[in-house]
């Protein structure tokens, strides 16, 4: 069995992982870096991000505004030291991407252009038309090729962290091309595996977004933090869940219900703004949690549109005109035409809320460190404390730059003083885990894993959705426990070594189940409403006395997770009423 030693190992090759690799290589050119990913880097889900990356750049903007928008957008569950560091470094990271070739959209004078985004007081979202994530990912991947220290292990599927006495030693992985196991020994390990949107039925996420890194860290004893906070993006295509960027509304797109009425004015986001004159933090430029909640209410009122693909409201871009749509939103036009047969130049696009982003993840601090020595996490898989209870659009792409760099530098620094782990220290775990995964590959139980995966996704949607009830949370908990039981009785049919995706999907299903359990149990314990976590069972308001706290979920072998709480870091912004539209002015903020 192959063993590979490396100073720094990065699981994942999306925006966060690639930025970390470059940072590590720049911080210490003499180290070796292994970039281990279950897909080729350009397949990573960063590729699908559309709207942009935040960073203060206009003269009349200020990092203090970005801080305030982020903290109130997160309903005061953000760690404010982390937000402060983020807003002070986001612009330089966006600029660095410019220097590396990212084709940011420009103003006529050649300077970088910015667009409006939800919950942001000033336009500060840098964009590359509506394929910002695609361009950032390709720019980072291509730039990473300059560094011979970085070795890519494409299509290697990581299954376990290897740990000794609370210190990470490396990773066990499967070389997908031939089904063999590889042990990576590393002084520092960075998890950059993205989110877990595939826990849900309708989502904007790619099939690979299965919470792998979260589950690996969780099973190794690292807590998953704030997992109850799952973002529903208000504008996904019905049926598929494909994302229609918030940039549509940033450019002036409007949302209307079945009566053609701009219903957001009924949900403390108004008054109605004139069509073609979007106003920051009003109406369609409110935050994602509020907009998705408004859809939920409209649906209850019977004011949504019934389409062949499910209920929806209209995202109307027609008034932008063909030229602007082609310049700013060409991908949206292509996607709407292909997947719902609508050309937004001539007709509104049907949209509905769809799961998009996990605010929670592996607990990290301002240095991207997890509680485990030598282990770091960055991007959607991490809970850095940046997003709180609701992420603002365009903060996550910027986060990949800011904390990708931090993770890479910290991992390089740690590797400099740490000893290389020894195979004999992890041999037992490797043998044990390898045997376990091989047994799974030839499992002959009676359950079809694909059916379990679908039931998981449906029950999460039903029980841990936009609004939550204790009765539904309880039934979801029970259902997940029974799905875990059935998972232990799955049967697989392939049994071959080469590119056995049935086997990999089965491993991913185990990850999804564990992450889903962390979500539902965390949601159940939070008896308040905050940001994306809204309850309808007597806990409809925010409770800062008891819940100005992060939830920590700890994995328990064979049973439900245990939860604990951690104080939120408050520096300068004391919790206040979170308001948008004219209501924000009334409270004087």
């Amino acid at each position: 069995m192959q063993t590979i030693k490396t100073d720094v190992l990065i699981i994942g090759a999306g925006g966060g992982g690639l930025r970390a690799a470059i940072a590590a290589a720049e911080a210490n050119p003499s180290i070796t870096i292994a970039q281990v990913s279950k897909v080729y880097p350009m397949r990573s889900h960063t590729v699908a991000a559309e709207g942009g990356a935040a960073g203060v750049i206009q003269d009349h903007d200020d990092v203090q505004y970005h801080f305030d928008d982020t903290v109130s957008g997160g309903d005061w569950l953000c760690d404010q030291d982390v937000v402060d560091y983020f807003v002070r470094h986001a612009t330089e990271e966006n600029m660095r991407l410019e220097h590396w070739g990212c084709p940011w959209s420009r103003k006529p004078d050649g300077r970088v252009n910015v667009r409006a985004f939800g919950g942001m007081k000033i336009e500060r979202t840098w964009f590359a038309a509506d394929k910002t994530g695609f361009h950032i990912l390709h720019t980072l991947f291509q730039t990473s090729l300059k560094f011979p220290q970085i070795t890519r292990y494409n299509e290697y599927f990581c299954t376990n962290l290897l740990v000794k006495d609370g210190v990470v030693q490396g990773v066990l992985a499967i070389d997908i091309a031939n089904g063999t196991f590889v042990t990576f020994l590393a002084k520092s390990v960075i998890i950059a595996t993205g989110g877990a949107g595939r826990v849900y039925r309708f989502n904007t996420n790619g099939g690979i977004v299965t919470g792998d890194g979260m589950a690996m860290a969780y099973r190794a004893g690292v807590p998953l933090r704030d997992m109850e906070f799952v973002q529903y993006h208000p504008t996904g295509l019905p049926g598929t869940g494909i994302l229609m960027t918030e940039g549509c509304r940033g450019e002036g797109g409007i949302l209307t219900n079945t009566d053609g009425y701009r219903y957001l004015q009924d949900y403390a986001l108004g008054p109605e703004t004139p069509i073609g004159e979007p106003k920051n933090k009003y109406m369609e430029l409110g935050p994602r949690d509020r907009l998705s909640q408004a859809f939920w209410h409209e649906e209850k009122k019977g004011r949504v549109i019934n389409t062949d693909r499910g209920t929806a409201v209209n995202l109307d871009l027609r008034h932008l005109g063909e030229a602007k749509i082609n310049e700013r939103l060409p991908f949206i036009r292509e996607l709407a035409k292909s997947y719902v047969g609508v050309d937004p130049v001539y007709a509104p696009i049907p949209v509905r809320p769809t799961v998009h982003y996990t605010m929670g993840g592996i607990q990290t601090n301002i240095r991207a460190e997890t509680p485990m020595t030598g282990l770091y996490a960055v991007g959607e898989c991490a809970s850095s404390g940046l997003h709180g209870a609701n992420r603002l659009g365009s903060n996550s792409l910027a986060e990949l730059g800011v904390f990708g760099r931090v993770a890479g530098e910290q991992a390089a620094l740690h590797a400099k003083q740490a000893d290389m782990p020894q195979m004999e220290d992890v041999q037992d775990q490797v043998n044990e885990q390898k045997a376990r995964w091989l047994a799974l590959r030839s499992a002959k139980g009676t359950e079809n894993p694909a059916h379990i995966r679908k039931e998981l996704a449906d029950v999460m949607e039903a029980g841990v959705g936009i609004y939550r009830l204790s009765s539904e949370l309880d039934s979801t908990k029970e259902k997940l426990a029974s799905l875990q039981e059935r998972y232990r009785n799955i049967g697989l049919n392939d049994g071959t070594n080469v590119f056995n995706t049935e086997w990999l999907y089965a491993i991913e299903l185990g990850f999804l189940l564990d992450v889903g359990e962390a979500m539902v149990h965390s949601a159940s314990g939070r008896t308040e409403s905050r940001g994306s976590h809204q309850r309808l069972d007597g806990f409809e308001t925010r409770n800062d006395v008891d819940f100005l706290k992060h939830t920590l979920a700890y994995w328990q072998p064979g049973s439900a997770p245990k939860t604990a709480y951690q104080d939120v870091v408050i520096t300068t912004s004391q919790p206040a009423t979170r308001a948008y539209g004219d209501a924000a002015n009334k409270k004087g903020s």
């Binding site: 084709p103 050649g110 300077r111 790619g206 099939g207 049919n493 071959t496 080469v498 049935e502």
Partner: protein, 253 residues
């Protein structure tokens, strides 16, 4: 369209190849429930979840941006997620196979490692004689300057153009459409000063001159990158570079 009978199920033939079990690729037929939105990718997922879980194929974003799910669909290279069964009702059959011109790893999984290595060799990153400090802000680039390379920056690395390229089929060493278009993308970026570093391989036997301008690569490109145009514009640049070299003036931008 209205004259075509809308079926309740549709027959899909899939190429199988499991190197540990099969001497050569073979065909397996499946009946899949039909609906108007059914994409080739969704039909494959249906097969894997319900009919034969051993079938392997790559996929992820299902929105034509990650480049994973390129297949030969009735002999034409296409993205599975953006190809719909409704467009094959008149033909009455649909056959899905791994991308042409690549070795097959398993079933519909093509071995694209050589293709990705080619992308990596063309120095696809900004090369500057001197880096400007971040504190001095962006390299100015007008919308017109962006437009000179933007189209060539849209490549999703799906490999359809390699499956379409007869030259690559004959000569796997040929750098090929996507890699050459990527080099051209950076050569045309006003921020870049590295075109002379890319010229040796663009000019080499496996570079632009191997292209016989069939143009099928551009026809199948799902992102309208038009690699054929990039390659042929690259031939012009290559000729200019050759001429400048003769008089000792090459090396600049």
């Amino acid at each position: 369209m209205s004259t075509v009978h809308v079926p309740s199920t549709i027959k899909i033939t899939v190429q199988r190849y499991r190197p540990e079990l099969d001497d050569k690729p073979w065909q397996q037929a499946f009946e899949v429930p039909y609906h108007f939105d059914l994409s080739v990718l969704e039909s494959l997922n249906y097969i894997k979840d319900n009919l034969d879980s051993s079938l392997s194929f790559r996929w992820s974003c299902r929105m034509a941006i990650c480049g994973s799910c390129g297949f030969m669909i009735n002999g034409v290279p296409k993205l599975g997620c953006k190809t719909f069964l409704r467009d094959y009702l008149e033909q009455g059959h649909i056959t899905i196979a791994a991308l042409d011109n690549f070795p097959i790893e398993k079933d519909l999984v093509a071995d694209i490692s050589g293709f990705v290595e080619k992308l990596e060799t063309v120095k696809p990153y900004l090369i500057r004689k001197q880096e400007k400090p971040l504190s001095e802000g962006e390299y100015l680039q007008t919308p017109a300057e962006v437009a000179r390379y933007k189209q060539f920056s849209q490549c999703i690395n799906c490999g359809l153009c390699y499956a379409a390229c007869p030259q690559f089929g004959r000569n796997p060493e040929f750098l090929g459409p996507a890699a050459l278009a990527l080099a051209y993308r950076y050569n045309k970026d006003s921020r870049d000063q590295g075109s002379s570093e890319r010229m040796p391989f663009l000019n080499s036997e496996q570079g632009v001159w191997s292209c016989t301008f069939v143009g099928y690569c551009s026809e199948v490109c799902p992102k309208h990158v038009d690699p054929a145009a990039a390659i042929n514009q690259g031939k012009l640049d290559s000729t200019l570079d050759y001429g400048l070299n003769l008089i000792g003036m090459a090396g600049g931008k």
